[in-house]
């Protein structure tokens, strides 16, 4: 989450506003706090304990012992409200919460389907929302949407609009000229359209009503459940696009086979990479723990081996592999593999304690694992993994990759003073298993830096993975070669000196390099990635 602060609310009135906007992922939604003199409203508590802690901390920092007066749920998918179900403090505010009556029922009866708890791997417990909305026989308002006013003590005026389609209990909340739209704009995406509770006809009706309402109520900004605020003019364009997507999904209540097949293939390649990465991480923990035992550092060995529940990780991977094997024999549909992979990836993600593992495992390997899980969850949820493209100095980036893999890179073992620090530094050193030999990587570039437009972080991780694995296969003469083929194109060739076979890992690596913003071409002993030439050198 980005650092945030109270700002003036854009929707009118003398209200203060505290948006907690996260990167787009499946783990948790954005949250929004809105304060007036008398009211303090939370829209969507999200699903991450740290996010809930931040919300509570922001509230406790307010002068005058302010307390939440209402929690508004845009819908009851677990990424938007798991903290209301599970957070030790926020769950005690369920009586302040508002949701559509069908969401009230879903949380009360622990409906793992409608809440997406099963897909997201979240545990439910019966939760009683205090204020179910749309319980009577309302008539649709002038935009064709059912409306209900949320009672507030002071001068806040909140109108709830029932906008089913993404889920039966979806609601948009209007405060002045601001509109909180939940997942409306994601409702037509592959992996989203077709989830339990989705209704194409309801969604088209809701989108049409929303479009009219945005114009009729002079809405200026829409706050989405995921991602940044959207100016109303762009929101209308997005609604048109979603409507078009949804219309094209005519007759499909589940996912299209093509989309699910693509997701399943992606799942297979990414899960194989996740499997190998976690085996390396768990194996290194076992290795370091063993070495410390050999050095009669039993206490430290015990602490190191407890930073990951290797048995649980292994068990989840075995369950996935067993299911994937059945899938390859034709026993399961693509969607089931995609769901299974999402379920397992979510559980694996929760078993990874970066803080503890960071005492032994190199940061790039943990970042690589995060990226794998996040990319899969992003695709599964219906988005495309995003590249953050910028002008980069390719020579500097390639040298960073080469230097970080050099076994001579410095460590702190000899610089430590206390025995405890020494043992910790030793564990870190042992965990950084070096497979690349000294001087086995060269960077070939001209004297002048060459700029390219690329995602440097994605490139570095993909290059790390390719070079490290090739070194583990025995390659010891590798090169990173940079050239400007013409005014428009810069190529980086990673040559490993050994023939590389096309397999699941190479499919993964091709995608990984493509996601760094390049066009990928295989060569016999490596890979060539072409990027648009950059304009400046940073």
């Amino acid at each position: 989450m980005q650092a945030r602060e109270w700002i003036r609310f854009a929707g009118g009135g003398e209200f203060s506003f505290y948006p907690l906007i996260r990167k787009i992922d499946i783990l948790s939604s954005n949250s929004y706090l809105i304060g007036s003199e008398d009211d303090l409203i939370l829209i969507d508590p999200g699903a991450i304990p740290g996010q809930a802690d931040t919300i509570l901390s922001v509230i406790s920092d307010l002068p005058g012992s302010r307390q939440l007066t209402s929690i508004l749920l845009t819908h009851t998918h677990m990424d938007h409200c798991h903290s209301l179900v599970s957070h030790p403090v926020l769950s005690s505010f369920a009586d302040l919460a508002y949701s559509h009556v069908s969401g009230f029922e879903a949380l009360k009866t622990e409906d793992y389907g409608v809440t997406q708890a099963k897909i997201l791997g979240k545990r439910l417990s019966p939760t009683l929302i205090g204020n179910p909305l749309f319980t009577g026989n309302q008539e649709a308002g002038r935009y064709g949407l059912f409306e209900e006013t949320i009672p507030c003590s002071g001068n806040l005026e909140i109108t709830a609009y029932h906008t089913p389609g993404h889920s039966p209990e979806s609601i948009c909340y209007r405060i002045g000229t601001s509109l909180f739209i939940g997942d409306t704009l994601f409702a037509g995406s592959p992996g989203i359209a077709g989830i339990i509770g989705y209704s194409r006809n309801d969604l088209l009706h809701s989108l049409n009503g929303l479009k009219q309402m945005i114009a009729g109520e002079n809405i200026t900004v829409c706050y989405s459940g995921h991602g940044n605020p959207i100016p109303a003019v762009d929101a209308i364009r997005s609604i048109d696009l979603v409507s078009k997507q949804v219309e094209e999904l005519n007759g499909i209540e589940t996912q299209t086979p093509e989309r699910m097949k693509e997701t399943a293939l992606f799942a297979e390649d990414l899960m194989a990479e996740i499997d190998e990465t976690l085996t390396i991480i768990s194996g290194r923990i076992t290795f370091v723990s063993h070495m410390l035992e050999e050095l009669e550092e039993g206490d430290s060995a015990g602490k190191i081996s407890s930073v990951i529940d290797s048995a649980a990780v292994d068990d989840l991977l075995a369950r996935y592999n067993s299911f994937a094997e059945e899938y390859r024999r034709g026993a399961h549909q693509h969607i089931l593999l995609a769901l299974n992979a999402a379920n397992i990836a979510g559980k694996l993600e929760r078993l990874i304690d970066r803080g503890g593992l960071g005492a032994v495992i190199e940061p790039w390997l943990l970042d690589h694992l995060d990226e794998l899980i996040n990319d899969y969850m992003t695709l599964f949820r219906g988005f495309r993994p995003i590249a953050t493209l910028k002008d980069c100095n390719t020579t500097e980036i390639c040298r960073t990759v080469s230097d970080s893999l050099d076994p001579r890179s410095t460590d702190q073992v000899l610089e430590t003073i206390s025995m405890e620090d020494f043992t910790a530094a030793l564990a870190l050193r042992m965990g950084r298993v070096r497979v690349v030999n000294e001087d086995s990587i060269i960077v070939c570039a001209g004297a002048e830096p060459i700029a390219a437009i690329m995602d440097p972080v994605r490139f570095e991780r993909a290059a790390h993975t390719l070079i490290t694995r090739c070194a583990a296969y025995g390659a010891d003469k590798m090169a990173l070669m940079i050239s400007k083929t013409d005014e428009e194109t810069v190529t980086i060739t990673i040559s490993t000196g050994e023939e590389i076979f096309e397999d699941g890992q190479m499919r993964y690596l091709r995608r990984a390099f493509a996601l760094s913003g390049g066009t990928v071409r295989r060569i016999d002993d490596g890979i060539t990635v072409a990027y648009p030439a950059g304009r400046t050198i940073i």
Binding site: L278, H290, N321, S322, V433
Partner: protein, 111 residues
């Protein structure tokens, strides 16, 4: 996963094939323990049919190696497929085990 054990001309072999994961690692550990605990001497583990090893599989082999090491004996691994050997290298386990290319190399090592 399949594991077969044999004594041939005074050399003791275990042939492991298939997958060693969380389901099969305990079985591998138990069979190897009963085999390695019976008699004196090193044991050659032929991994040429081993397709996959998880961290649980690595741990199972490590436990047996540590048990044998107490009496000055070792497991000698051989015939690792490139993708399995890659895991041994990337986890540091190549520095724990004696690893030979072929069964012949492993026998030679014993002499």
């Amino acid at each position: 996963m399949e594991i077969t054990i044999a004594d041939s001309q005074g050399v003791r072999f275990a042939d492991v094939s298939g997958r060693i994961d969380s389901k099969t690692a305990p079985e591998v550990e138990n069979i190897l323990r009963s085999f390695t605990g019976e008699q004196e001497g090193n044991v050659i583990v032929n991994c040429s049919g081993l397709e996959y090893i998880s961290s649980g599989g690595l741990r199972a082999l490590l436990i047996i190696e540590k048990e044998m090491k107490g009496s000055g004996r070792h497991l000698i691994l051989c015939g690792l497929r490139t993708d399995v050997e890659k895991i041994f290298r990337l986890t540091g386990f190549t520095s724990i085990f004696t690893i030979e290319k072929t069964v012949g190399d492993a026998i030679e090592h014993l002499r």
